[in-house]
């Protein structure tokens, strides 16, 4: 059973890791649609828990060709930039967001918009919890719009990426969400 974020943050770090709800390939393949009518204010999305290592950071740097030394050169990070360690990339966090929203809205919803800030320095060894919570919803153009509060907290409850998002879910007896996505006219 999914633990509420508030309860998750009361656990010891090792115990937090056991509550990871990141889906595997077959979970995504067989994902059942959440409809607009299923959503209520305060509902939490499945929490994605990460425990990034230097190897994860290096792989991300290589994948996106980010040569910034603070992400892979510990000596440079400590002695030149005076950081506590090599740093988790803001670009990686930014790329988790659409994944997180996509997964929740699959197979026929749409992860339309997100905005967030980068606030804390994250380092290998931190346990990171990508979370989201429904704040409101409304119907428009035969589509269900859901507003979310999102973020990525550390095991200490520090919010490193406060933000909001808007996703679109189909109505239970409504048409498919158009793809490519076209927002309804105001």
């Amino acid at each position: 059973m999914s633990l509420p974020l508030e309860d998750l943050l009361k656990l010891e770090p090792e115990a937090v890791l056991t509550h990871n709800e990141r889906p595997k390939a077959d979970d995504l393949r067989n994902k059942k649609q959440i409809y607009y009518e299923d959503v209520e204010e305060g509902m939490e999305l499945p929490k994605y828990i990460y425990n990034p290592t230097p190897t994860h950071l290096f792989r991300w740097s290589a994948a996106i060709e980010n040569f910034h030394r603070i992400h892979y050169d510990l000596d440079f990070g400590l002695n030149h930039d005076k950081n506590p360690s090599i740093l988790v990339h803001g670009s990686w966090k930014q790329s988790v967001v659409p994944q997180f929203l996509k997964d929740w809205t699959l197979p026929k919803g749409w992860p339309w918009k997100a905005q967030f800030e980068h606030r804390a320095m994250l380092v290998p060894g931190d346990i990171l919890i990508m979370w989201g919570r429904v704040t409101s919803k409304y119907e428009k153009g035969q589509m269900g719009f859901v507003e979310l509060e999102i973020g990525m907290k550390t095991q200490d409850g520090i919010e490193s990426m406060p933000g909001t998002a808007t996703v679109v879910l189909p109505l239970r007896n409504g048409p498919d969400i158009p793809y490519p996505f076209v927002p309804p006219a105001d």
């Binding site: 990141r22 889906p23 595997k24 390939a25 995504l28 393949r29 990460y50 994860h56 792989r59 991300w60 290589a62 994948a63 996106i64 060709e65 980010n66 040569f67 910034h68 030394r69 603070i70 440079f76 030149h80 930039d81 803001g90 670009s91 990686w92 930014q94 790329s95 988790v96 967001v97 659409p98 994944q99 996509k102 997964d103 197979p107 026929k108 749409w110 992860p111 339309w112 918009k113 997100a114 905005q115 967030f116 800030e117 980068h118 933000g163 498919d176 793809y179 490519p180 996505f181 076209v182």
Partner: protein, 183 residues
Amino acid sequence: MTQEAQSALTPEVRAMIGVAGDVVEAWGVVDAEYLRRFTQAVMDPDPRYWDQEYAEGTHYGELITPPIMVSYLASRIRPDQDDPVTRAFEENPESDGIGSIERPGELPPVPTDLVRVLNAGNELEIYQYPSIGDKVFFQNKYSDIRERVGRDGRAFLIITRETTYKNQDGDLLCITRASTIRR
């Protein structure tokens, strides 16, 4: 005593709002190998990225790619240009590896003597997943520049750079906005 803030939002800075760069064609195409590396690095195992038969039966009708993967494709250094990464480290072995690298489609600098740059946040708007084989065209623009006053009474700027990504057919893929604080 509070120091009165001197405005950083000068007419020259304000004039940069709306300034757009050229439409630039990113090097290469959206390809399966780059998709593999990207999705493994972000740790997204979705079969919609790699199981073609399955993907063709989904809502999207084909393999999809993560929406903002194109933003990293757009920042690739073209092989037919001078290599700024090699140059940066040759000229300064202490280079941080990013600050002195000129990327394709860069905007002219905002004329301010505020030099410290901090990441203020990001926005994403997603309309269509890029398809394998797509060519990506992007354009940067200063969409907003605002002034704020810090606790020390000094003015600083929040500069927002918007990038619009389209495919070879002119279809809108996504829009990203990156805001930086200049102190």
